[in-house]
Symmetry: C2
């Protein structure tokens, strides 16, 4: 493999370069340390989440081919904490002999929703009814077959609910197509809930799957993840895992793949893909024998994959989104004081704070709780996250105990 | 607290500075990342274990007061990955208003074995018979009361068996006192095994203890740690934990304290102390809800302490000491290839590689295995460590399986 030519002179081990300095790179670096690695990061600025904690930071833009070339120089493999690197740049790096994981031919399915829909259709995989629409007439035709409202999505660049529109009539659709160009139209499928099936795949073709989880969204943003998905039948769980493995294999994914799913009365439908560590897998840091971050590194380095066994019967992750306590008008306890109270009250809830500037709605950190009963574990994780984000004390978790526990 | 004056301008959180760039600082940084921290490290060189992975590295000597002053400037608290900082420097930093955890008055008991023995004697805590000896006559007197051989220890600077001598007669003792000056003489107590009791203590006075572990030494170096100590009675385990808490309280320790113990027919005797994360606590990374590294940070930051509950019934840590495969003459598989095989064969053994230059006898990394049966878990951890260190495949773990598992 080409990697053998680029072992670190200091450690004698391969070097992983990651595009993006967000919390995914930050947490990947944590995992890298255990493997004898030190993640090399391309960060948009010196105060990004990962740039604050890694030794080898390059400041630059992910759209700048020269910055990418400098990043991969001497690295064994290039990988990503987001999907925004242009495909043509990745092709150029591959042509120059660099290993890119996942490669551009796979990654495009996480970058472009129309490409994904076409690929899944070709493979006969379950997904919502969809069409590429270039005008209001297309959308109206689609609605004749699948009803209003219609979901319209920008094929590229959307995340956390951005680039997703629910339209009730042709006029609204016309305006969106006018503004954004060709869009993906999807039926608003009647769903029970959202699930996520994560799989890691190595270049060797080894795959590892975790239990399928339920993702709870609020305003299009992941708020909670329940592992395993409560009440999911073994049959449907296995079907979702097999679907994720088939997609990873067919697309030739290397690294982590999260398959976001809608659960309907008839089974699961693919919503979208992420080819990197994903918010739906943060629970694995404490909740599985091998975290998604370690597994991503193992996969892109072509190391054998680790055990995905859970460490507790129930694991719940709650995101801490910038809330009341992030407002400039906030007069309650500051962040450090809130962390103090959090730790006093929930000595077994695990904190992951990303070091970012606090801003409303921003993913600032997450909390993980483990236990036996999903109602109890979820209540604990959510109350803790709510306290950290909004400074609100849930009455069910009133601070009645001795702070020392 | 003085710390509130020195929150990080970027994260709004306190800043921890650590003296020493070894694997303890490296693993503390891993834990720091989750808490929104980025450890600031004073490292002897840029290729030290922690310097390779941390963003804020100062290169300097731990004996240089100016380097220490620069290190603590703007930091909330100063702590340690080793015990080698001179007491007078720490006193000077305290006088200048800096928080030092543990403080010099506590730390000296981990730095100077004679100071420790006197303090334990004053507190009536169990320890081996001992004396300060300044000549061969003193040693001979000691031997009259406690028999030959006598253990002689340099009061300061010893670690991993260095600075410890077993002498059989007065002539050998004379030579050592001549060379080293005043020594600590100890009876070679008839012991069953060595134990370690770890406790964290915050300035607030909160304490947290983990289960007492057995430490298996080879040539004076920790080779394995078995958690909890197999077959240890609840009575003796509790006694050891209470002893550790009493010592932490009495000495005013802030941060982690490891109390290394001899188990004898009559109970436990204190061997020595470490006031920092310690090799006997590496198992807590995966094996306890809160690791010793996170707990050390929580304690020195005066955060409430985390749960010390175990995550599995049995956890075994095996050190990887530089062995045959670290020799310049080694012609077997290189480190990267050995890691590859290790992961293929033991997908549930957790690797911690420190990124250091390989050298015979050096602590290069450690492995952690979890399970239900101590014989099985220990065999797994030891076989994996032996393979990584020496390239030796234990017949009981022959690579008979499919490498993909």
């Amino acid at each position: 493999m080409s990697g053998s030519a680029s072992l670190s002179a200091v450690t004698g081990l391969p070097v992983v370069a990651m595009v993006g300095g967000g919390q995914l790179a930050r947490m990947t670096h944590q995992a890298a340390i255990a493997l004898g690695q030190s993640l090399r990061v391309l960060s948009a600025g010196p105060e990004e989440s990962a740039a604050l904690v890694t030794a080898d930071v390059r400041i630059g833009d992910h759209g700048d081919l020269e910055a990418l070339r400098e990043l991969v120089d001497g690295a064994t493999v290039l990988t990503f904490d987001h999907e925004h690197v242009p495909t043509e740049h990745l092709r150029a790096l591959e042509l120059a002999g660099h290993r890119v994981a996942p490669g551009p031919a796979a990654l495009v399915h996480a970058q472009d929703k129309l490409v994904l829909r076409a690929a899944l259709a070709g493979a006969g995989e379950p997904q919502p009814p969809w069409a590429r629409v270039t005008g209001a007439d297309d959308v109206a035709d689609f609605a004749v077959r699948h009803g209003w409202p219609v979901i319209l999505k920008t094929p590229r660049g959307g995340y956390d609910g951005k680039g997703v529109f629910v339209v009730e009539d042709a006029a609204a659709a016309a305006e969106l197509v006018e503004r954004h160009g060709p869009l993906l139209a999807e039926q608003k499928v009647p769903m029970r809930r959202e699930l996520s099936a994560q799989v890691a795949r190595s270049p060797f073709g080894q795959v590892a799957v975790w239990p399928v989880v339920e993702t709870v969204q609020r305003d299009g943003v992941c708020a909670e993840v329940l592992a395993p998905a409560p009440g999911l039948s073994e049959e449907l769980a296995t079907a979702a895992q097999e679907l994720a493995v088939r997609i990873a294999d067919r697309l030739g994914v290397v690294g982590m793949l999260a398959v976001e799913l809608f659960e309907t009365a008839d089974g699961v439908l693919v919503n979208e893909l992420a080819m990197r560590p994903h918010n739906s897998g943060h629970w694995t840091i404490e909740g599985a024998r091998t975290s998604q971050f370690e597994q991503h590194l193992r996969a892109v380095l072509d190391y054998p994959l680790g055990s995905t066994a859970m460490t507790a019967p129930v694991v719940v992750m709650a995101n801490v989104l910038g809330g009341a306590a992030s407002s400039p008008d906030w007069t309650g306890p500051g962040l450090d004081e809130r962390i103090h109270h959090l730790m006093a009250h929930w000595p077994d809830v695990k904190l992951h704070w990303y070091g970012k500037t606090q801003r409303a709605g921003r993913k600032l950190g997450h909390l993980t709780a483990l236990g036996d009963d999903v109602t109890e574990v979820r209540a604990r994780a959510v109350a803790a996250a709510r306290y950290l984000a909004d400074g609100v004390v849930d009455p069910a978790f009133a601070f009645a105990h001795d702070p020392e526990h």
